[in-house]
């Protein structure tokens, strides 16, 4: 990052960003309503989705970040595959008679801006094979990661690159 000090300060979301966020929540909630109820009582669904979106805009912390929908699909694919591998990996280790684990802690300096990119990173690390995000330092830059095997740390770098790509962050 060129300007890491500026990137670290959590800036409150601007009015425009809150609106964008509210619209995103509204669309998602409305889709879920259609899922639960079909087309009946559509008006109530509209009202509920609007109320939820308003509340979501009130709750948003930090700045929402622009992302590209088609990249989200690729990211979801990567994430699904990795979490599948993660499940198989840990299940194999648990069932193995020799209990093939060698737990250790390791620190990773996050090179992503605050807000959604960093949150997504902290959240998804826990579902990759063999890694678990255990703690975040006061300034939010250093992520303490618990790894079942020291080798597992390699995937964290790849995840970071994927998150940066999803939010179109140049590094």
């Amino acid at each position: 990052m060129a300007d890491s000090a500026a990137n670290n300060a959590i800036r409150p979301a601007t009015r425009k960003q809150r609106w964008t966020w509210a619209v995103q929540i509204f669309v998602v909630l409305l889709l879920l309503w259609l899922l639960l109820n079909g087309l009946d009582r559509f008006l109530a669904g509209l009202l509920a989705a609007a109320a939820g979106a308003g509340l979501g805009a009130w709750l948003v912390s930090g700045q929402p970040h622009p992302w590209k929908p088609h990249r989200l699909i690729w990211f979801a694919g990567f994430f699904l595959w990795e979490s599948f591998k993660g499940g198989v990996d840990v299940a194999w280790r648990a069932m193995h008679p020799g209990l093939k684990i060698n737990p250790c802690f390791s620190s990773h300096c996050i090179d992503l801006p605050t807000g959604q990119p960093r949150t997504l990173m902290v959240a998804t690390v826990s579902l990759l094979p063999g890694t678990l995000s255990a703690d975040l330092s006061e300034d939010g830059r250093d992520l303490e990661i618990h790894a079942l095997m020291p080798e597992a740390m390699a995937s964290v770098e790849r995840l970071e690159a994927w998150v940066a790509w999803l939010f179109s962050i140049e590094s």
């Binding site: 879920l32 899922l35 639960l36 079909g38 979490s83 599948f84 993660g86 499940g87 198989v88 990996d89 840990v90 299940a91 280790r93 648990a94 069932m95 209990l99 684990i101 737990p103 902290v122 959240a123 998804t124 826990s126 579902l127 094979p129 063999g130 678990l132 995000s133 255990a134 703690d135 303490e144 618990h146 079942l148």
Partner: protein, 99 residues
């Protein structure tokens, strides 16, 4: 028994196995952090497999989408809980060591 049912049965059985692996990990792994790995990852994969098996059986796209939503929310709950528990365990660690 149709092909769909066979496939669904296989998915459900595999899901059950991953739940079993999660519990085995919970009992066998040596520390809190490793047990968290077992619980979050294995149980989530188990839930995914159970959800896909059930949506094949349910045979309606609405039920399938609802099951998918449930899985996504389960993923969110698991990752947040895992982070909070690991964080708490570490805070204890620094405040005077584990038992």
């Amino acid at each position: 028994m149709s092909t769909t049912e066979v496939l669904a049965a296989a998915l459900l059985l595999a899901g059950g196995l991953f739940y079993l692996a999660g519990t085995v990990g919970l009992l066998r792994f040596p520390d809190v952090y490793s047990r968290l790995h077992a619980l979050t990852k294995a149980d989530n994969l188990g839930l995914l497999l159970v959800c896909s098996g059930l949506s094949l059986l349910a045979g309606s796209w609405r039920a399938a989408a609802l099951l998918g939503t449930i899985w996504l929310l389960g993923l969110l709950a698991a990752t947040v809980s895992a982070h909070l528990i690991a964080r708490h365990a570490r805070a204890r660690h620094f405040n005077g060591g584990e038992q």
